[in-house]
Symmetry: C3
Subunit: 263 residues, 3 copies
């Protein structure tokens, strides 16, 4: 089942899924999202798999959507080849909801950089462990975008104001800052050791209990299916904005940021 972009490794009751596009900052393509979706199917069918671990290669966990692929999509929308409604954002939002509802304990093991859509995986995970060198940011607003699909789950995990400040300031958090806010549950240089220590207790929970627990907590929060549709619609609206499209194209083609001169 392993693809070049997503590595699967099963050890005992733990299935590790490793983002593996190191030359592209482990950014998310449609191919990678499909591979992740398939891997969740594999885990779902396997009652002996109790824990899923998400990882990244080469000092990067995941740095968000692939802007090159996004630009190609924008061009297809411009030429009327695509309505844009086949957007990857609904797919991404679905994946976050699946992670937050699957009957496995999902652990994000972060060693390095997490940006934009990568933060969404942390927000959807049950537990987030990170090495001290890890870094966390939501730079979307610099291009006029918003981390729209990340926010419903991020606000749930770290509260309104920390999610707001991270989005507005586009600042980068250290592992300690991420821990203080609750984005990270534990900072440890030895992520595998930290997971092992938690395995005894976590393995005692039956898959059905984990599924019940996630479904019940979803009912105990105010963010419903409607909010997820709002999130997907907002991203869809923003990527159709000519000003934002220009910001993204200038960055992809010329590595020029919006504030470095607008045509």
């Amino acid at each position: 089942m392993a693809t070049p972009d997503l590595l699967l490794d099963r050890q005992g009751r733990v299935l590790s899924l490793t983002f593996n596009r190191p030359e592209h900052g482990n950014t998310l393509t449609q191919g990678l999202l499909n591979a992740l979706s398939d891997a969740l199917d594999v885990a779902d069918r396997d009652p002996d798999c109790r824990v899923l671990v998400l990882r990244g290669t080469n000092g990067q966990f995941c740095t968000g959507m692939d802007f090159g692929e996004l630009t190609e999509r924008l061009t297809r929308i411009d030429f009327g080849v695509s309505s844009g409604s086949d957007s990857g954002d609904a797919h991404y939002m679905d994946l976050l909801r699946r992670i937050a509802s699957i009957g496995k304990v999902v652990v994000s093991a972060v060693d390095g950089q997490v940006m934009a859509g990568g933060v969404g995986f942390l927000a959807a995970s049950d537990l987030v462990l990170a090495t001290p060198a890890s870094r966390f940011s939501l730079p979307e607003a610099l291009w006029g975008l918003l981390p729209a699909c990340v926010l419903p789950l991020l606000i749930r995990r770290i509260g309104f104001q920390d999610a707001y400040r991270l989005t507005l300031t586009t600042e980068t958090w250290s592992a300690d800052q991420a821990h203080t806010s609750g984005l990270v549950d534990e900072v440890d240089t030895d992520l595998d050791g930290a997971i092992r220590k938690r395995m005894v207790r976590l393995s005692r929970l039956e898959p059905e209990t984990v599924r019940n627990l996630k479904a019940y907590f979803r009912k105990m929060w105010y963010l419903s299916d409607a909010v997820e549709r709002t999130a997907v619609d907002e991203i869809d609206r923003l990527v159709r904005d000519p000003r934002i499209q220009e910001n993204i194209r200038n960055f992809v083609e010329h590595k020029r940021f919006p504030w470095e001169g607008r045509s």
Copy 2:
């Protein structure tokens, strides 16, 4: 009004209610819940009583529902003697709501262990003081259960993610961890001294103001009456699950945990 299971002690403007089933970990029986309900009536009728203090005896605050009594209830359901709808859970949920709406300042003074349903009293209290030796846990998921009635108030008090992590990991928090999460407002070796220091200021609030304040904050949160019904329904559903009933019976009768071998 004092019963053997709940001790009442009035000193000035303070009424102390002390859980007193030390030989049973101060677990909650229908009798104890009734006694607590009666004690709230007493306080409600007394305008000079301004502060209620909840306590436990013998190094335990309260360790949740009495599993023995629960097993007897399950047996009555099995034999059709009871529909289960006379469940103690609706009663327990009502008590939490009363504590969170009564026109008295309610202080939980914790010295020792708090588990499961005991955590609900803390979540519903206005202030929680604890000695450094106190310990806090929600072990329900080990049996396939959920702290369903505790969570609406616990999420309100400590936020979604801390409530989620405490439930999922079934880990035990120290007093310091409980303080960091906001489950405990103040850690002090001298609980009576800590209460005395706060009395001057708290006594200045009129009972009607406290009642208004609690009612208004309830409107300022998203958890409504419907969520409380959802909570009671969820527990009702779970205790009818044969797998969970077996887990509980094995524990009550053989002190065997679910992961120690399932028949």
Copy 3:
């Protein structure tokens, strides 16, 4: 546009608004609220203004509604000259919502005391910076009142329980306590330096992005327009309560607190 009560100062992309009623603790009058509303209009029309800074003079940021003006209003209600529905509270609530939705980054720079309605400006701001000597409190409950309009935004910023405890205990928080709760984002002796350090990054956000971002986060929280009406109605109800009116009049006329003897 500057009035004696509100000073306006434009430096580069930053417009500073300074509460300037030092002899009255920078309390809020209808005149001051009008001046603040006008200043927001000025900022709104000016695309080069990117950041608004709120400040106070003379060791006080803002200490809430002017009780003297409130007493006069109560007298007009008593004599049937006013229905009370021209209350300043709807105006105040509107101002908080405007601050929380305007396409500028709003920074509260606090040096000194913040009380009651003054806390609302912090809750509505994007960033709150404070000197170590600053102090924060919600004393409304001492008179039987509630910080009704402050709470929807305060709960969003610092969470339910911290907002609840600050209201119920009427205690005063130090800058460090306010920072721990999230009411303050940064404690610094040099507020201007702290703002300067953040300006490079904040100036990169276009006004339309800031407006989008605020509108989207509003959709991501559960407090809607209806809650703001509930808040205004609650204050309207409380100030019509004869017991509370007497509390306020005794304080304005005799500096007597409610617990110092009730007639």
